[in-house]
């Protein structure tokens, strides 16, 4: 797609959703006098529908693949794959480090990529970490948050899962900004893209089979659980980018609620079956 059109689309969608977001917040403020911690989810009905679709997709395609992958591929190899995916995300991480003004981190990301791609045998090993070169992966959604763009309302995307306008815009721009996709421009970057998208999904899913199964079985409201996990995870990444201690934000929530000590409750016997 033409680069300029895409950029206009992205910036446009951010502005529109920013508008929605602030409207949503006003609405929430007036409503939430009675309620505590209402999630920013004005499109909940649509989101829940897409979420149900994604669960079916996961059930019949992604989860079976992930289970087979975990059963067939030894953990040593699976760990190599995780490392190689991490390594492939280092160039875009370095770009985002620069866009966030993090010169030192950009140095770490670049050095990691160079060392692990060579000494680390195409990224399947991670000698850089043992040399003290440790960094988090960064995406453009995080850069936008450093630039002060707020996340906007929660969105569930078909196939891709939990997101929000800011992270979705970040996802779209990643292919423009990622040096891995700009090199050559021939078929090699395409196969890289496929490797990262496909293998990345399976790698992530295979690491979370038991967790997600448990969560689905034990949830009072699975949709709300995933929404909370996603929003909290992204918020804490944003906080760490801005070098804010995310536990401070949590403190507010924990302190906000005054514990009613007057009712102690019954002495409960626990049954463990």
């Amino acid at each position: 797609m033409n680069l300029r059109i895409l950029l206009v689309l992205i910036i446009g969608s951010i502005l529109i959703f920013q508008g929605c977001a602030s409207k949503g917040t006003e609405l929430n403020n007036s409503l939430s006098q009675q309620e505590v911690s209402k999630a920013n989810d004005p499109f909940e009905k649509v989101n829940r529908a897409v979420f149900s679709f994604n669960i079916i997709f996961d059930k019949i395609i992604l989860r079976p693949i992930a289970i087979t992958y975990k059963a067939v591929v030894p953990s040593f190899v699976r760990n190599r794959i995780t490392y190689s995916l991490n390594n492939l995300s280092m160039p875009i991480t370095a770009v985002n480090n620069l866009l966030q003004g993090e010169l030192r981190k950009a140095g770490v990301s670049t050095s990691r990529f160079i060392i692990n791609s060579t000494v680390g045998l195409l990224g399947f090993f991670d000698p850089a970490s043992s040399m003290g070169l440790v960094t988090e992966t960064e995406d453009f959604g995080q850069t936008l948050s450093v630039w002060g763009v707020s996340s906007g309302p929660y969105l569930v995307l078909p196939f891709l899962g939990p997101s929000n306008p800011r992270d979705f815009a970040g996802l779209l721009s990643t292919s423009l900004l990622d040096p891995m996709y700009q090199i050559g421009g021939g078929s090699a970057p395409d196969s890289l893209r496929t490797y990262r998208l496909g293998t990345g999904a399976v790698d992530f899913r295979s690491q979370n089979i038991e967790i997600l199964d448990d969560l689905q079985n034990n949830s009072i409201d699975y949709y709300a659980a995933i929404r909370s996990f996603y929003s909290q995870g992204r918020e804490s990444q944003a906080a760490s980018n801005l070098e804010i201690d995310s536990s401070e934000q949590e403190n507010d929530i924990f302190d906000d609620f005054e514990i009613d000590e007057s009712y102690v409750g019954p002495d409960i016997e626990i049954s463990y079956d």
Binding site: E35, F76, S129, D221, G233, S236, I268
Partner: protein, 199 residues
């Protein structure tokens, strides 16, 4: 030009090796987490225990280390204050069973992970102890865990566990709030649901 870029890289490399060390001020709390993790691991890795024995010793350890009463009230949020005494009692019993059932079936999945305490800090009236779980078979794939502890009357209790930036207690609270807001804020319906899920 290439030479300049190379020099910049070398410079960046030098900067990158700056290792930061976390200050550790709360030895007592850190030791609490270490000993809790050690006890948990020794129960989980004890093959001579039957599944039931393992669940009951693990539950005993967890119940003596967390403030379940406080957590139960916190996750219910405002609804706790508006509840009748009968509802409170029914809810506390249901939530305890629900809590135990959330881990009871996965205790056999322990695969040799270790918990390394890396530091601690004050957070309001709480102390947060930070630790890492190292993924088995690697030395660098880590999961970050933050334990929110409350030291009340010289008794340390776990209030929350934060995994990679996700607070389990806050997630539970948002889940309950969402259920309530989709069910006319009917606490009895929530209690019913909690009971049905933990069965």
């Amino acid at each position: 030009m290439t030479k300049i870029i190379f020099h910049i890289y070398v410079l960046l490399l030098c900067f990158s090796f700056n290792l930061t060390v976390l200050a550790s001020n709360f030895t007592e709390e850190e030791n609490f987490v270490t000993s809790f993790a050690d006890s948990a691991i020794s129960i989980l890795s004890n093959d001579s225990l039957s599944d039931d024995e393992r669940t009951s010793s693990f539950t005993e350890l967890v119940m003596s280390s967390i403030d379940l009463n406080l957590i139960s009230k916190f996750v219910l949020s405002k609804a706790w204050k508006n509840a009748s005494d009968e509802q409170k009692e029914a809810y506390l019993i249901a939530f305890k069973d629900y809590f135990v059932s959330s881990y009871a079936n996965r205790l056999d999945q322990y695969a040799g992970e270790k918990v390394d305490v890396v530091g601690s800090q004050e957070a309001g009236k709480y102390v947060i102890v930070e630790s890492n779980i190292i993924r088995e078979g690697t030395d660098t794939l880590k999961i970050n865990l933050k334990w929110r502890l409350l030291n009340k009357d010289n008794q340390i209790k776990i209030i929350d566990l934060n995994i990679e930036g996700i607070s389990l207690v806050i997630a539970q609270r948002e889940e309950f709030q969402s259920f309530l807001s989709n069910n006319d804020y009917d606490l009895d319906k929530l209690i019913e649901k909690i009971v049905s899920v933990s069965d």
